[in-house]
């Protein structure tokens, strides 16, 4: 396809006629607008990420403890992400730097450190007794029936792992909650 290049001897720029240039200019303006809209949406969405990560900490502590602690952390995260002096990427990195360690066990350690009872209570939070491999095996067996549904092995394995991790986490959370609840009531089955 030949671009209209100076038909009937009209003006050309770099070998292209005015029609081609007009088309290119319109396309460039549209692309620039779409890019800016995408960047604005990306910034808005990504600055929500640290809050989502912080809320992952919710599964590691009891509801009462979360209600007591999360207000302070959310307020600090709001301040970090609304600091206009820092660029968008810097705010995102700082927000992730703040939220991730809390979600990865910091919340649970804070609860452990802050819980007090009669005298000095040493508490061992019992880990789930369901080994991860055993949970995976049970999940894999249960999902074996879906082989006939043309699920690929990769999908099947990932699904089985996800179910086993969720099961393991749920059991751990329930056990930890029971320990903390007993500590709050002044009893400690671990002593």
């Amino acid at each position: 396809m030949q671009l209209a290049a100076g038909t009937d001897g009209g003006p050309t720029v770099l070998g292209e006629g005015l029609v081609a240039w007009r088309t290119a200019l319109i396309a460039a303006v549209v692309a620039a607008v779409l890019y800016e809209l995408a960047m604005a949406a990306t910034r808005k969405i990504t600055l929500r990420l640290p809050f989502l990560i912080l809320y992952l900490a919710r599964i590691t502590v009891s509801r009462a403890q979360w209600r007591r602690l999360h207000g302070e952390w959310v307020a600090e995260l709001h301040y970090i992400l609304s600091d206009d002096a820092a660029p968008w990427l810097g705010r995102l990195v700082n927000g992730l730097r703040y939220a991730a360690p809390l979600a990865l066990g910091g919340a649970r350690n804070t609860v452990r450190a802050g819980v007090s009872g009669p005298g000095l209570i040493r508490r061992t939070i019992k880990r789930s007794r369901i080994p991860l491999l055993g949970a995976w095996t049970v999940s894999a067996t249960a999902l074996q029936s879906f082989r006939d549904s043309q699920m690929s092995w990769l999908t099947f394995t990932l699904a089985a792992l996800a179910v086993s991790v969720c099961t393991n986490t749920a059991v751990t959370v329930v056990r930890d909650y029971r320990c903390l609840r007993d500590a709050g009531q002044g009893t400690n089955r671990d002593q």
């Binding site: 602690l69 207000g71 302070e72 952390w73 959310v74 307020a75 600090e76 709001h78 301040y79 970090i80 609304s82 700082n94 730097r97 703040y98 939220a99 360690p101 809390l102 990865l104 066990g105 910091g106 919340a107 350690n109 804070t110 452990r112 450190a113 802050g114 007090s116 000095l120």
Partner: protein, 112 residues
């Protein structure tokens, strides 16, 4: 004192002792003490439980400021005295013995 002086707790105490009356916020403490939030907040919980620091919410109007009120921490008088004492004892316990080979004059030349 019913908690251990870990390196992170020591750094946090040093930040507080630099100016015990100054209010300090979470992110500020993280940057000055060079600790992560997962280490900082358990340390703050222990210090608050021991009565060495107190936490309060800042006095702002969330609607006007456009964000919730943050929590800041200040050191108590007793906490400052206790922290100073504990850090001094830790420093004494950590000092290498005077007869360590590195202190002897000419030890570097002998090893060369």
């Amino acid at each position: 004192m019913d908690f251990t002086l870990t390196p992170a707790v020591v750094r946090v105490l040093q930040v507080f002792l630099a100016d015990p009356d100054a209010p300090r916020y979470g992110m500020q403490l993280m940057n000055e003490a060079r600790v992560s939030s997962g280490t900082l907040y358990p340390a703050l919980a222990r210090l608050e439980r021991a009565g060495w620091i107190t936490g309060e919410n800042e006095d702002i109007d969330p609607a006007e400021a456009g964000r919730p009120a943050r929590r800041y921490y200040t050191m108590t008088r007793d906490g400052a005295r206790a922290a100073h004492r504990e850090l001094t004892e830790l420093s004494e316990r950590s000092r290498p013995p005077a007869r360590t080979p590195g202190w002897l004059p000419g030890a570097g030349a002998e090893g060369a």
